[in-house]
Symmetry: C2
Subunit: 710 residues, 2 copies
């Protein structure tokens, strides 16, 4: 793990880290900062640079195939687009003329596979870069690193001279996309596959069936997709297109057919599979629903055998996900025949009945040569050891399974639909530092998956819910465990985010587009200001705050807002700077004032905008809040800079107002209130500053302002 | 034409036009402003409004089919997205419950056709809207008008009570897209077809073959696309997909196979068709090139007969475009056998030889039941009268052809690739007001086409070159001739532009995306400021200014800049306001100063950005210019507001600096210089203000500042 630690340093938070290779004296003044995400297993930086000019060419040594060549062409297209350089000749006739030599030993697995070797070495000297990999997928991963190494200054584009040895920490690094609740067009999937490849994710977990939609064509049972999807489904040709597109990028596609629950959409066309007679309609609401497959009838298993056989032939991956989550068995309770079956078989509860069902499904999967993946709920003693448990419960549940010998992947902590900030996902580790698993047991932890549940995402907004946060999750799953510097992660994240836009991702650009639509105008500046300090409510509160069905358009203010407000993070930094300058309070005072003034002054224009745009009606109280909390912040700042403490009444009134403004409205909440609260408390605590050292005083302010002290 | 004039009033520039229906007294204070583009043939506005709520439903009367129902569903999706309303039930079980009744008499043509009836009537009362049309395509046009009528205020979303009778002025309203020079992915074509439908364009002219690329699969001669396209071509299935997608929207697809010139890419795989032996490679440069089909060999016609037969079967439209432009015959001059052939046949020059070629092609087209379309060059006495001439030469050439009995469409004036401002395209009329054509002759003028030539457009930029300007061209081709109010067109254009974003168009959002990529950062504010006052150079100067090949990435500053700078137009308005306030110079002085200060102050940050981003190197002189011209503008404004005239030296120095800044750099030019020049001249002319009336003085300033007086 020594090299791993070294790697952390190489991209560390200090912006002037100078890393010299072993045996080389650090050149004084030579500083290099890399923007790699995920951080490689090992990076050594040396002095020097490799210039990137319009003479750029690539030579391929040893093994080469269409997949590798396409990847190199795509990389060159992005390099050309980013630099503005025209590359006239693609592949170099001989190695000496090449800026980059790709030396690949062999094809690797023909179908992307869990045991694929993704290792690569990238050596950049001042005259050539050399990428060496045992497999094409390894080379693909290295090409992404090569692109991320691109840097520029007055002297032009270049790469730092580095020696990188890289390999993933975990072999299963996934993005789960739920297309059941909201269908996502082909191009959404494709651009997200491109983005996954850019941050070295290697599994698309395709959640294809839900209560709200059955999204895959079944030629055996066409009623499934024809009646269960509103016409929004993937043809088998399209599924093959996605599988091929993913394979081109070294990404596996694991399909999920959630059962026995989450199956309402199946029953629209096939009510005979359900545990109660029906009829059924496509579910339009979000939530947990009763319909479930009837696990007692042979007819159901015959159907599933045929269906799974069809899907097993369509999806080449070794694994097939059967869901298994959130079946509360309410339909089973109500069906006397099912109750009789349970009694007869000695199945004491619904859990036992589902275990019986899983055993039957397992046999079907085995017959079709697939290994089973399922959520925590499927875990039961009788399961064979090649089953994979996907844990929404957490690392402890995962470790327990690993101790029993089951493979597992972590999703708890990676629920990106819940709108938590990046650093929280970044902190979730499939094998945390305090893990007590033995090395052998730890091997069962295969990795993890970011889960993009589909209740509130449409084609216009899904990218901004996945990216850039998922890049940090990708780093957690690829990079050494001790790559945990949050500040440095946040330094690199916006850079990576912009690079993802090259792939057609809309996560950066669609927010203002949605605001223009809401306003019916291009003059959205005050609205941009408002939204910049707002975040969608976290956890499962959106549905409570702003009732919606699957037919509700995803074009509201909450859809234009994004998780993990950058403006709030910046504001928190400058407020921290101001408070650290106790007792003078001069540093950052101007920046703090500028931000607050901008927020305060947005209100009148916001009001005018809202009056003209009925779809913005829900922004009315937020506009008022913004003006008020900014005014409070300005007053507090004045107290601080003037060194005059406010009255206790002032403090109480303002804190009460902040409290009120902190309540979510329109499923949105202000991300800057904690910082403003700090300002208010700091002003109120000014008298105690005379008794305390500035540092102690600041600690006191922080503790008083923290949510626990409410 | 009385109703047409009425229509102009209804959307007129005065923002408080009150239109009362015949027989109804204008209600005092009742004002309505519509945002329709194109303006309908006749609009009558009455007091009242039809509320749009989540109870919105559509009923279909009389004829209905899948195309109509899909169009209604798409319309409802956009209505829902724009309003945020959830529509639970789509189609109303009976008319009385419907907010909109669509009453369609029949399907119209099964394949979109030149003689399709696109008429519709839209009557909106305060309790229901009724759309009546003889054909589905007529109903489609009316649905777009319905969506454009949506308006909102404090009381919610609604439509004005109106009576609209509408029909197009011209039956051929096209958008030409050149996919030969740069390939455009399927989704680019699809979203542009959606945008075309939104502004009632009805012909996609698909320029499929060029020197730089042969973009359509030929099963008969696969070498054509396999060797002539870098793998970037449309399969025949994809072509059918585009044709069907267009037909769904009532849009014809007219394919163009440009010949005998513009054929280099054909010859890569089929050199035997060329007039000189070859070998040939895909052309990478822009320009006019020598290679041309050999018009003297029977083998060539046999090949073309087979190829055109294949394409005639693929493309259902009655018309097929054979190009015919820009063949200078240089290869013909150099080939002795061709020279001998000409002598033998008595063909006195290359023009005659091309006429011979066209006659042969015409016979082939006739055999395959297609009518010929070609550029001006193809016009010759022997041609039958059902040929359509597409004129890049202008309305006079078109009128001449019409007098000879030929149908024609205008493209001169609609060359959107040349980056001219919208009002110039808007002024071009296929049958100008001063036309001397008889009514019978005028019928030969079928319409026009906006031409998106492909030298400098890629998937990321093409939308911003087409839209929103083409919406104004669409209005020219649909609306009555006297709809010519430029200010009102510019009032409506940004509203329509935002609506086009609903369809996935990227014309508004990709500019900042490209700037982020160039800067490698999200902090692009100063760059946005710079680009907002720049326009790409006009006419054919980009290639001179910034040499490029088809392999050059389209990601530079010029690609992020857009034609017809809105900031410059706004600045021109406030400068005009300031100068109109002579001799006080108080009105708008603050606005003018604010704009200029923002531009001046962008310079330091711009410099820092440019230093870090080599791809922005070319912006260096522009940043300097911006700072200097803004400073000049600020000085001039101070002279004006202080009522103090500058010295003649000051004036000369500043005008010289403006002159220098007006020179294009990096294929970009400042759009605000004319206004700043006005400020300088106005300041210098202050002494003459005492002798002249303010109006005369302003006229003098304008004339001195105009380009002619340089």
């Amino acid at each position: 793990m020594k090299t791993a630690k070294f790697a952390v340093l190489a991209v560390g938070v200090v912006s002037t880290v100078s890393i010299a290779a072993q045996g080389t004296k650090p050149t004084s003044g030579q500083t290099t900062q890399l923007n790699l995400m995920p951080v490689p297993a090992s990076v050594q930086i040396q002095p020097g640079r490799l210039a990137i000019t319009n003479m750029f060419q690539v030579a391929v040594r040893n093994y080469s195939d269409a997949r590798l060549q396409s990847a190199i062409k795509r990389m060159m297209g992005r390099l050309s687009g980013r630099t503005g350089l025209t590359f006239t000749s693609g592949f170099a006739p001989d190695e000496n003329q090449a800026t980059l030599v790709v030396d690949c030993a062999g094809p690797g697995k023909t179908i992307p596979s869990l045991d694929e070797n993704e290792t690569y070495d990238l050596d950049v000297s001042d005259r050539q870069a050399r990428l060496t990999a045992p497999t094409v997928v390894g080379a693909l991963r290295g090409l992404e690193t090569f692109l991320q190494l691109l840097s520029g200054d007055r002297d032009g584009f270049h790469l730092a001279v580095v020696r990188i040895h890289d390999q993933p920490r975990f072999p299963w690094r996934g993005l789960f996309i739920d297309v059941g609740r909201h269908y996502q067009p082909m191009q959404v999937l494709k651009r997200n596959l491109d983005a996954m490849a850019a941050v070295k994710l290697n599994v698309l977990h395709w959640h294809l069936t839900e209560n709200q939609g059955f999204r895959i064509e079944s030629k055996k049972f066409p009623n499934l997709h024809q009646m269960g999807s509103d016409g929004l489904y993937y043809t088998q040709d399209e599924a093959r297109e996605i599988i091929a597109y993913a394979a081109e990028r070294g990404i596996r596609v694991v399909p999920e057919f959630d059962m026995p629950g989450h199956t309402t959409a199946w029953f629209v066309g096939h009510p005979e599979l359900a545990s109660l007679p029906g009829p059924y309609q496509i579910e339009r609401k979000a939530g947990i629903f009763d319909p479930a497959l009837d696990p007692t009838r042979e007819q159901v298993y015959k159907f599933l055998d045929t269906f799974i056989g069809e899907m097993a032939a369509l999806f080449p991956d070794q694994y097939l996900h059967i869901g298994g989550d959130e079946n509360e068995g309410k339909q089973w309770d109500k069906n006397p025949e099912i109750q009789a079956f349970m009694k007869q078989k000695g199945l004491k509860d619904n859990h036992a009945l589902q275990a019986y069902f899983n055993q039957r499904i397992l046999k079907i999967l085995q017959r079709h040569k697939k290994k089973m993946v399922g959520w925590d709920e499927i875990l039961q003693p009788e399961l064979p050891k090649d089953v994979v448990i996907q844990s929404w419960r957490g690392p402890t549940a995962l470790a327990d399974a690993a101790r029993k010998g089951y493979d597992g992947i972590l999703s708890n902590g990676y629920y990106i639909d819940l709108m938590y900030p990046t650093f929280q996902h970044y902190a979730a580790d499939p094998i945390p530092a305090n893990s007590t698993l033995t090395a052998e047991e730890a091997k069962h932890i295969l990795g993890g998956e970011a889960t993009m549940w589909g209740e509130y995402v449409g084609p216009e907004t899904i990218d901004s819910r996945i990216w850039p946060r998922t890049a940090a999750i990708a780093e957690r799953l690829w990079s050494p465990r001790d790559v945990t510097d949050v500040d440095d992660m946040y330094r690199r994240l916006p850079i990576i985010s912009i690079q993802l836009e090259e792939l057609g991702l809309t996560h950066e650009k669609n927010s203002e587009m949605l605001l223009r639509r809401l306003a019916g105008s291009k003059n959205i500046e005050p609205l941009v200001t408002l939204v910049s300090v707002l975040e969608p409510v976290k956890d499962y509160r959106r549905g409570e705050q702003r009732p919606a069905t699957m037919l509700t358009p995803l074009t509201g203010l909450v859809d234009a807002a994004r998780p993990d407000s950058e403006a709030a993070r910046r504001f928190s930094t400058i407020v921290d700077g101001l408070l650290s300058d106790a007792p003078r309070f001069q540093s950052y005072a101007e920046d703090v004032r500028q931000s607050l003034t901008k927020w305060r002054d947005a209100a009148p224009e916001l009001g005018a905008l809202i009056d003209r745009a009925p779809a913005l009606g829900e922004a009315q109280p937020l506009a008022k809040d913004l003006s008020d909390i900014a005014t409070i912040g300005l007053e507090a700042t004045s107290y601080l800079t003037d060194g005059v403490a406010p009255t206790p009444e002032w403090k109480d009134t303002k804190l009460a107002r902040l409290e009120q403004a902190a309540k979510p409205k329109a499923a949105l909440e202000f991300a800057v209130i904690p910082s403003i609260k700090q300002l208010v408390i700091a002003a109120a605590e000014l008298p105690s500053l005379k008794q305390l050292s500035p540092a102690d005083w600041k600690a006191r302010v922080k503790s008083l302002a923290s949510p626990q002290s409410k």
